[in-house]
Structure formats: C-alpha cells, structure tokens
C-alpha cells in the first residue's frame, strides 16, 4: 500500500542558487498528486528532493523535512534505503538496452541480491501485469531486449521495473511527454489503477493530463508552491491569480 508524504519547509539549492523556497505539502496516500508550473519553476527539483536524487547533482543540496510515511527522508535514512521505497519514472524511457525484458524488470531485485528464481518470476509477471504490459510481452520476455519495444511499451517497462522492488511511492517526471496520444492514454489509465497500490506524484506540463489523472494539484512558480488544492478546484476556480493566469495561458 502507498503511504502519505509530508513535506515541511523544504528548500533546495544548486550551488548558491536557490531553486525551492519553503515548500509545505501533504501528499495523500494512494492518490495521484500532480505538480504543474512553467519551465524552471522547480517542479522536477521538488520531486527529486522526495527521493534524494537532487543531491546527486554536484553542489546541489536541500534542507527541511520530508517524511514518507513514518520514514524521515533527510534524517537517519540512507539515500539508497529511501530510493527503494520510492520508484521513479522519467520523461524519456530508459530501459537497460542490452538486457531482456525480463532482466529489465528483475534488475532492481537482482541488484539487491534476490536469488529465488520462482519468486522472481512471480514478481516480474505481477509487475508487468500492473504496468499493463504483460499481455504484449509475455511470449518474448527473455528473447527480446527492452530497447526493441515501442516508446510507450518502453515507458510501461520502466514503470514495471520501478514497481518490481515494491515501492510505496511512485514519482513520475513528465512520463508521457515523449509518447503518442495512444501510449499516453495507456499510461494515464495505468496511473488510475496503480493508485490502489501506490502513492503517485506526477510532474506534467500537460494540464489536461493533470486534470485527468490527479486528485490533487500543486502549482509551482519561481521555486514557490503558489497553490495546492483539489484538482477540480485548481482547474475551475483557483484561489490565486497567478495560478489562474498560468492555467488559462496568460503567461508561461
């Protein structure tokens, strides 16, 4: 099951340049939360702070509190432990090109020393079913490489890979921006189903997508969280003029 995320006074920097300012947000468990805003507003930095990927960039650092369920992300936990709890899917599908479909999904578990082959088979099948790819690849699991799949299938393979390690939270950074409308539709449908098992945070430039898949939406501007509310409120009657100006295309 997914867990909630509590963000308190989160600040982030790239060297001396501050990218996030005092972000507070409560992400509901087993819901999808969309993060929107113009380019450079800090939305990707925000989600990368949730699983401590931000600090992998030289001179980048963050302060403040992030709790994933009961686990304090920035206090007393290692980055590796945190990333096991939080799966991440990126803009461009990035399957391991030389690995088979099966090995792509099993990669995380194998890296963690998982050796029970029967259990591994079960997890690979379950993950591919959860990511709605199983029916399309079940006959070529070990024969085809991940790179031989279409863009939309590759992205669902990456989702399966992320799900295989049984995370509690799934972060998606513009997961459909490189996909055609049909593949996008499949991923959006998938997000809806995955909410039963995981908490999802999705960064998107596509406001229609945010309104279709997320129950909650946060609008970022210049590193600040301007407004965070139920999605229908944000897209019909936002409280802040800046949110309204952005979503109606008056700037950004």
């Amino acid at each position: 099951m997914g867990v909630g995320i509590q963000v308190d006074q989160l600040n982030a920097w790239f060297g001396k340049t501050q990218a996030l300012y005092d972000i507070n947000m409560k992400v509901e468990a087993n819901h999808a939360t969309a993060v929107i805003g113009p380019s450079g507003c800090g939305k990707s930095t925000f989600v990368r702070c949730l699983n401590r990927m931000h600090e992998t960039i030289p001179e980048a650092h963050a302060s403040g509190g992030v709790k994933i369920g009961d686990v304090d992300v920035y206090n007393g936990s290692s980055a590796v432990q945190i990333r096991r709890r939080i799966g991440m899917v990126f803009q461009k599908p990035n399957p391991f090109p030389t690995m088979s479909i099966y090995d792509n999904v099993a990669a995380g578990l194998k890296l963690n020393g998982f050796t029970d082959r029967k259990r591994l088979d079960e997890i690979v099948e379950r993950s591919l079913k959860l990511s709605a790819l199983w029916e399309e690849v079940k006959d070529t699991l070990r024969k085809k490489s991940g790179a031989s799949l279409s863009g939309g299938q590759q992205q669902r393979l990456c989702i399966a890979r992320a799900l295989a390690v049984e995370p509690q939270v799934l972060l998606m950074d513009e997961p459909c921006s490189a996909l055609d409308p049909i593949s996008t539709g499949k991923i959006e449908e998938l997000i809806f189903q995955l909410k039963e098992h995981f908490t999802i945070v999705i960064v998107t430039h596509n406001m229609q997508q945010a309104s279709r898949v997320a129950e909650f939406t946060g609008f970022f501007l210049l590193g600040k969280l301007i407004e965070f509310d139920k999605t229908e409120k944000i897209f019909t009657t936002p409280s802040d003029k800046r949110t309204e100006d952005y979503i109606t295309g008056r700037f950004g």
Binding site: M207, Q208, F235, T237, E244, I247, G249
Partner: protein
C-alpha cells in the same frame, strides 16, 4: 498569451451581446405593442425571431469550437459555459416576446377593455431586469447580477396580483373574459422573461465568482455563514 483563443473569447462576447440586444429589443417591442395595440410592432417581433434563433446557433457553434480546440480552464471555462447557458436563456426570452406579440394580435381583434392590471409597469420592471442582467455580463460584475436576483420576487408578486385581479374580472365581467385571459397570459410571459433574466444573472455570478447560486443555494450558504459568524 494565447492570442487566437483571446480573439475567440472576444468574438463570443460580442456575439452574445448582439444576441442580448436582439432579445431585449423583442421584449420591448412586444410590450410596446401591448400598450399601443400596435400590430406592426407585433409583426416585427415575429420576424425578428428567426434572427435570434440563427444567432443562438452561431454562438453555440463558436463556444463548441472553443471548448474542443482550445481546452479552456478556470475563468475561461466558466465564461464559455456561462455564455452557452445565457445564450439559451436569451433565445427563450425571444420566444416569450413572440408569445406576448401573439396575445396582442388576439387582443387587437377584440374591443378594448379597461383591465385592473398595470402591464406597462410590469413590462418596465421586467425590461429593467433583462437590461441589468446584460449589464452585469458586459461589466463582469457579480454585484450587479446579485441586484437582478433580488428583483425577481417583485415580479413574482406582480404576476400573482395580476392573476387574482384578472380572475376576479373574468368572474365579474364575462364579456371581457378573453381580453382578461390575454392580459393574464402576457403577465405570465413577462414573469418568465424575469426568470430568464434571473438565470442570466446567476450565470454571470458563476462566471465571475465560480459560485453556483442557483435555486437559492448560494443564499442558504450565505445565511449559514452569517449564523456561524454570529456564534
């Protein structure tokens, strides 16, 4: 800034204002025709109906295109939804004007009769409601729209009063029953025009404030807020 979208919204606003002008003119002409027993004005109202109907279709088409092609959000989405609903109300206002004109055409065939109702006063009040509801749309002011909502009860009372007096007239003076019935129907048509003006005002409030105040829900919410504030 989405220039083409803004141009589309401006065009929608302009066309709705034209539609409002046509509907308002139809009601004014029909009422004046009643007061002056003027057949020529009745014909103008009947002829104007087709223009109102075609304008209604044009506005709906443009709104539909904007919804499909531009995926409007927030205030823009509320604006387009409000325009489509106001558009339908204005078309119905035009229909009520036609109904009034048809009553007048019937009355003109009959001897003139003194009736105990002031249709001219009611018509003036209803015209003012339509005009103010359209002003609230033009200026995007919810306060003006709120004032229109408060006028609706006055018109309802005028209609009730006309009903009582005209039924009494029918009982007391059977030879003028048909004239009294025509006047009664005109009063009812005017009351319905006022209802459409009320709908328009509610749609303006929805557009401007994002609040649904139909069926007095907004007023109930406001009273609840006042009660909790007093506590």
């Amino acid at each position: 800034m989405r220039t083409r979208f803004q141009q589309g919204l401006d065009e929608l606003r302009t066309r709705l204002l034209r539609m409002g002008g046509l509907a308002e003119q139809a009601v004014d002409r029909a009422c004046q025709a009643y007061i002056d027993r003027d057949l020529a004005r009745c014909h103008l109202v009947l002829e104007g109906e087709s223009v109102i109907n075609s304008t209604e279709r044009e506005i709906d088409e443009l709104a539909f295109d904007l919804l499909a092609m531009q995926q409007p959000m927030a205030v823009d989405l509320r604006f387009i939804l409000a325009v489509t609903k106001i558009n339908a109300d204005l078309e119905r206002v035009g229909d009520q004007a036609v109904n009034i004109a048809e009553r007048v055409m019937d009355m003109v065939e009959l001897p003139a009769a003194e009736l105990p109702v002031d249709i001219a006063r009611m018509a003036a009040a209803v015209s003012a409601m339509v005009r103010r509801s359209l002003e609230s749309f033009i200026e995007g002011k919810a306060e003006l729209a709120q004032a229109v909502l408060e006028m609706d009860n006055v018109i309802d009372r005028m209609r009730d009063e006309a009903f009582i007096l005209l039924v009494k007239t029918m009982n007391d003076r059977p030879p003028v029953t048909r004239q009294a019935l025509d006047a009664l129907l005109v009063a009812r048509n005017l009351e319905r025009v006022a209802d459409h003006a009320t709908n328009i005002a509610e749609d303006v409030i929805f557009w401007v404030r994002g609040a649904d105040v139909r069926h007095n829900v907004g007023q109930e919410l406001r009273s609840q807020e006042q009660v909790s504030e007093q506590r």
